[in-house]
Amino acid sequence: MKSRLAYLLPVLIFVGLLGFFFKGLFLDPKAIPSVLIDKPVPNIDLAALPGRGDTGLKSEHLKGQVSLVNIFGSWCVACVAEHPYLMKIKAEGSVPIMGIDWRDDPKAGMAWLQKHGDPYERVGADPAPGHASVDFGVTGAPESFVVDRDGRIRYKHVGIIDDRVWKQTLLPIIKELQK
């Protein structure tokens, strides 16, 4: 009996490895876990986009209400695809969206918003090398963060927000935080 188990052991190890490799097939190597989850938002003080009429974006603007911070840029192709959905979120009024115009000419960022619509409550300009965005641990645009009332980052979404991401992931988290 004992010896039969010993013969089976390599097979069991092999099956175990297969399990790991199979799981690995479906892991996204681009999904880097953020170390900033549950930490306070970084200390930022960003200038406004020219002619937008707000005073830019500071850390204190991310306190007192649940908000969605969205990193975008006029150069970012995926942001164009995401934009109509952000407009929809704004129209629904479920959460204020704060924009960070990352490694962009603020004028180009403003023109882009005029062309595609402006879903943001506030926008801060973060031209290259994008200190504020790096403080948020940015890996690409678009990237969005759910920030709670105390100004802590609670969730990070890398990539486009679409209907599925919004309804299945972001909105439930936001609703829970707004309770």
Binding site: K30, P33, S34, V35, P129, V138, T139
Partner: protein, 153 residues
Amino acid sequence: MKRLMLALMALAICSPALAVDPGEMLKDPALEARARDVGAELRCVVCQNQSIDDSDADLAKDLRQIVRERITAGDSNDQVKQYLVDRYGDYVLLRPPFNAKTVLLWLGPLGFAIAAFFIGRAYYRRQKQEAVALSPLSAQESAEIDRLMKDRN
């Protein structure tokens, strides 16, 4: 053949191109050398198996600039790395650090070697014991045989 040798030699002497362009370099060569040392150990989070010094990605360029800013501001190499680890996690280091999360990664191979040693030793010992089993009968066994033989008589 000669051509092949030449081609191989050419391959051997060429070094991988760096993405660092002269405009980004620090004027002080000592500080620039430190920026290179740090940059070579930081992962470009866009193109993941390249260091920020090797990558042409815009974000890698920004990070190179930020590394140089930190160095100019007087940070040590380790402080610069920590600055990025605070934002991107251990992931940004190309050489995984030794800590509670990576202990299995570092010590796992050693653990397997030790386990293999003990399993192997147990296996050979058992083989030896089986050989021993063929050795002369114990006193108890002889007594048992004597008893059986007596019964027969």
